[in-house]
């Protein structure tokens, strides 16, 4: 969707403010929401893509006016309600009114094992890759109301295939429970001028990772 999370190329946010390496959190609640979001992985009720969609579909004024861990908080509330794990009234009251659904909560060891294992997104190839390194491609112009990982600034642009990453779960489908529909994934390189016009930094190139259905052959 064309939501507030799709920030590439916007202006007016001011300078980037660097921070020292050991400054990881700014308040205790940030630690707790990080842990809550990760621990709810035990419930297996939503994919990483559904989690991203819950955050990026927040109303733009809310998204842009919230810190990142606040966005995580609001996103988790949406996911819990949408999956029926928590009722809206429970959220409003701040306490449970009904017994929980069937979820086997993680022990500390379960959590550590899940993080160590990760969750690979590669899948067996459904067929041969359509493009090879060096091919000229053009991204499609897509404006789906659902989830996509094709940023607005890189739609309808001509680029070159830089890497072929293998076959990966398609977020556009997986975010909405429509199956993983794995596709070939490529790094596609664009010149700054292709993306931003003649005034662009002539030394700039930008790579995005794009699924095959985001790409057409050269126009």
């Amino acid at each position: 969707m064309n939501g507030a999370a799709d920030l590439g190329g916007m202006m007016g946010f001011g300078p980037v403010v660097p921070e020292p390496e050991d400054e990881r959190f700014h308040a205790e609640w940030e630690r707790r929401i990080l842990a809550l979001v990760l621990a709810m992985g035990a419930a297996r009720r939503w994919s990483i893509d559904a989690g991203r969609f819950a955050r990026e579909s927040l109303p733009p004024p809310v998204y842009l006016n919230s810190s990142y861990y606040a966005i995580w908080t609001l996103g988790l509330e949406r996911l819990l309600v949408a999956t029926g794990l928590v009722g809206e009234a429970e959220l409003a009251e701040g306490r449970a009114r009904e017994a929980g659904a069937d979820v086997r909560a993680w022990s500390p060891d379960d959590a550590r094992a899940a993080f160590a294992a990760g969750s690979p997104y590669t899948r067996p190839a459904p067929g041969p890759a359509r493009f090879a390194v060096g091919d000229t491609v053009r991204t499609r112009v897509l404006n789906p109301t659902g989830h996509t990982r094709l940023p607005r600034y890189a739609r309808g642009k001509q680029g070159t295939v830089e890497r072929v990453h293998g076959v990966h779960v398609l977020p556009d489908s997986n975010a909405h429970g429509h199956g993983e529909r794995p596709e070939w994934l490529y790094s596609v390189r664009f010149s700054g001028r292709e993306l931003w016009g003649e005034a662009a930094d002539p030394t700039l190139t930008v790579d995005i990772d794009a699924w095959e259905s985001y790409l057409a052959g050269p126009a």
């Binding site: 920030l7 403010v17 660097p18 809550l36 709810m40 988790l76 794990l85 701040g94 190139t205 794009a210």
Partner: protein
């Protein structure tokens, strides 16, 4: 930025989720311990220093970064599919996630606040030299800049150039020179 009411929401969420039996409080504490210290950019610094001192390791890191990083004991969540990109005098790499906050957790830990900020995410792909100036970094005019927008589950680790005059340093001393921002591409060493 208004996080009004958010700390209270987090507190309420924690009590509801614990009451419902979805999370154990001790698991929350363990997760915080993992990501508020145990996993951080010293892991990535180890990888970078090894690639500087061991040419065969460097080749393996170029060919299959996920496997090469796993050799040193790092991997898992948000590092399932790694790619390492090397800075050279001719080409500088910068990593961003314009759409959210994708970042290679096993080697760098959690992303810093600025990495997730609209200021960084909006401008890194449009005006990377301006972003670098915010970090006090100026690249030569002729240096090419390649920005990697992490739009899929591939996670990028920048291998900075080894500083001059470090021929006599061992791997551990070299690792101490490698900064988190250097491995994102917003700093030089």
């Amino acid at each position: 930025m208004s996080d009004h009411g958010i700390p209270e929401k987090v507190e309420a969420l924690e009590s509801i989720l614990v009451e419902k039996g979805y999370v154990h409080p001790e698991t929350l504490d363990a997760i915080v311990t993992t990501y508020d210290g145990d996993v951080g950019p010293r892991n990535g610094a180890h990888v970078v220093a090894r690639s500087w001192v061991d040419p065969e390791y460097r080749e393996r890191l170029r060919a299959d970064a996920t496997a090469a990083i796993a050799e040193l004991g790092y991997g898992g969540r948000q590092g399932e599919h790694m790619v390492a990109v090397e800075n050279t005098p001719d080409e500088h790499h910068l990593v961003v996630c314009t759409l959210c906050s994708c970042y290679p957790w096993p080697v760098l830990g959690l992303p810093p606040t600025w990495y997730k900020s609209p200021a960084y995410r909006s401008r890194a792909v449009l005006d990377p030299r301006g972003v670098l100036a915010d970090f006090g970094v100026t690249l030569p005019e002729a240096t090419r800049i390649t920005v990697h927008d992490s739009t899929a589950e591939i996670r990028y680790l920048v291998v900075p150039m080894r500083p001059e005059g470090t021929e006599d340093l061992d791997e551990e001393a070299l690792a101490a020179l490698v900064t988190r921002d250097g491995m994102i591409g917003t700093a030089l060493l």
